[in-house]
């Protein structure tokens, strides 16, 4: 099935309001010790092109709210609570019908640890490891499943190279999905690349905090293994998705 995703994100850095950084890619930068970041996102996904007679068309609205806290300048923990609204149209025995479900999805508990860094004047290079767990808080018994019903570990590595003019990020993560209620979602491998270029101000001010406008190009890929139901592979599941787009985020 074809999948189209649109998203927007907003950050609250303690008292600062920011509309910035890549949307789907994570960065290797960590908050400073004691810093709290709240990230609110809105994501829209549409799935179509069902090859079966059911001609299923699904649309998903997702609103993840993420709270990040810097335990040290190297170690951060985060809690992500998504609200999901799913709707699906399908044809059964010639009758077109619509079903929908909404509620809290699976909560993510993550940690990010900076394993290597190089600081230069006006430039930061960072490598970080992420580990975490997706908790089965979403209703897996809902008709359009809002959660996996299983405890799913996540691990990954992040790279960021940031300078005064540009930023480059690589985000690789693997989610090991486990079985729950005789159903197992396929493992997911996410690979994201993001590039940002400052387009305003063209010349940096001599001192102080200033507003910044960046052009961001982001490439997001996702490979999902096939799901398993009662030990059998679910044919119409898994696959390769690419999402690529550009946009203009505003710094504070």
């Amino acid at each position: 099935m074809k999948k189209i995703i649109f998203s927007i994100s907003i950050y609250f850095l303690n008292t600062h309001f920011v509309l910035a950084v890549p949307i789907n890619s994570d960065v290797a930068l960590t908050p400073f010790k004691g810093q709290t970041i709240i990230r609110s996102q809105a994501k829209y996904a549409r799935k179509g092109d069902d090859p079966t007679d059911k001609d299923r068309k699904m649309q998903v609205w997702m609103f993840p709210n993420t709270f990040v806290y810097g335990l040290t300048e190297k170690l951060a923990v985060s809690l992500s609570v998504p609200y999901i609204d799913k709707g699906q149209k399908s044809t059964d025995s010639g009758i077109r019908s619509k079903t929908s479900d909404s509620g809290i999805g699976d909560i993510n508990l993550m940690s990010k640890y900076r394993i290597w860094s190089k600081d230069l004047p006006g430039e930061a290079i960072r490598f970080s490891l992420i580990t975490g767990l997706e908790l089965p808080t979403g209703d897996e018994k809902a008709q359009l499943k809002l959660g996996s019903g299983s405890f799913d570990p996540i691990a990954g590595i992040l790279f960021t190279m940031q300078s005064l003019n540009q930023e480059f990020d690589i985000d690789l993560a693997y989610q090991f999905n486990t079985e729950a209620g005789n159903y197992e979602f396929g493992d997911i491998f996410k690979y994201n690349l993001a590039y940002q270029r400052r387009i305003w101000p063209w010349v940096l001010p001599e001192k102080g905090i200033y507003s910044q406008l960046n052009l961001v190009l982001e490439f997001n890929g996702e490979y999902e293994q096939k799901d398993k139901s009662n030990g059998s592979i679910v044919k119409d599941s898994g696959g390769q998705y690419f999402i690529s787009f550009s946009r203009y985020p505003m710094g504070c």
Binding site: L29, E73, G122, A124, L164, K207
Partner: protein, 171 residues
């Protein structure tokens, strides 16, 4: 009433002296080279951490030059450890700390130290391209007040040192 202009001038002079910080006292300026500082959000985080340091009065971040200029509170010595800790907790590295201060050279236990006026904070002074050993001894002997600009370094079990980059006699 002939003396009226003089009285007014005297009052103005007293007001000026009482409200203006004596620029030839204490540590006039501290400049910190911060590495890894590469975005406006980083500046905000660094400012927040440095503002929490007790001895700091004012902060001015120059992102383009990768440096922070700070003014210390009155009669407060420079605490290198606290500043380095704040920069580290903000997620960056301290490249250098440069000060501009006025004081005198003194001798203690066969070591020549730069004693900052009013706060008596002391820095070891060593020979550099800017100042020779003979010149250091000459200034020490003359007991003249000097104004020094240079990078400071911490040492274990020793006073911090200053690498003189600029020196002038204060008359």
């Amino acid at each position: 009433m002939k003396n009226k202009p003089y009285i007014v001038l005297m009052i103005l002079a007293i007001l000026f002296l009482s409200t203006t910080k004596n620029i030839f006292a204490e540590i006039e300026k501290v400049e910190i080279g911060v590495e890894g500082l590469s975005c406006p959000f980083c500046v905000w985080g660094l400012e927040k951490k440095l503002k929490a340091v007790n001895s700091i009065d004012k902060i001015s971040v120059h992102l383009k030059q990768a440096k922070v200029e700070i003014l210390l509170k009155s009669n407060t010595p420079l605490n290198i450890t606290d500043i380095k800790k704040a920069v580290k907790e903000a997620g960056f590295s301290t490249g250098y700390i440069r000060i501009t201060a006025t004081g005198n050279l003194i001798e203690k236990k066969d070591q020549i130290l730069f004693s900052v006026k009013d706060i008596s904070q002391e820095f070891l002074v060593y020979e550099t391209d800017i100042i020779s050993r003979d010149r250091i001894l000459e200034i020490l002997k003359s007991k003249v007040t000097i104004r020094i600009e240079g990078k400071v370094h911490e040492h274990k079990e020793l006073a911090p040192s200053i690498g003189v980059e600029k020196i002038e006699l204060v008359t």
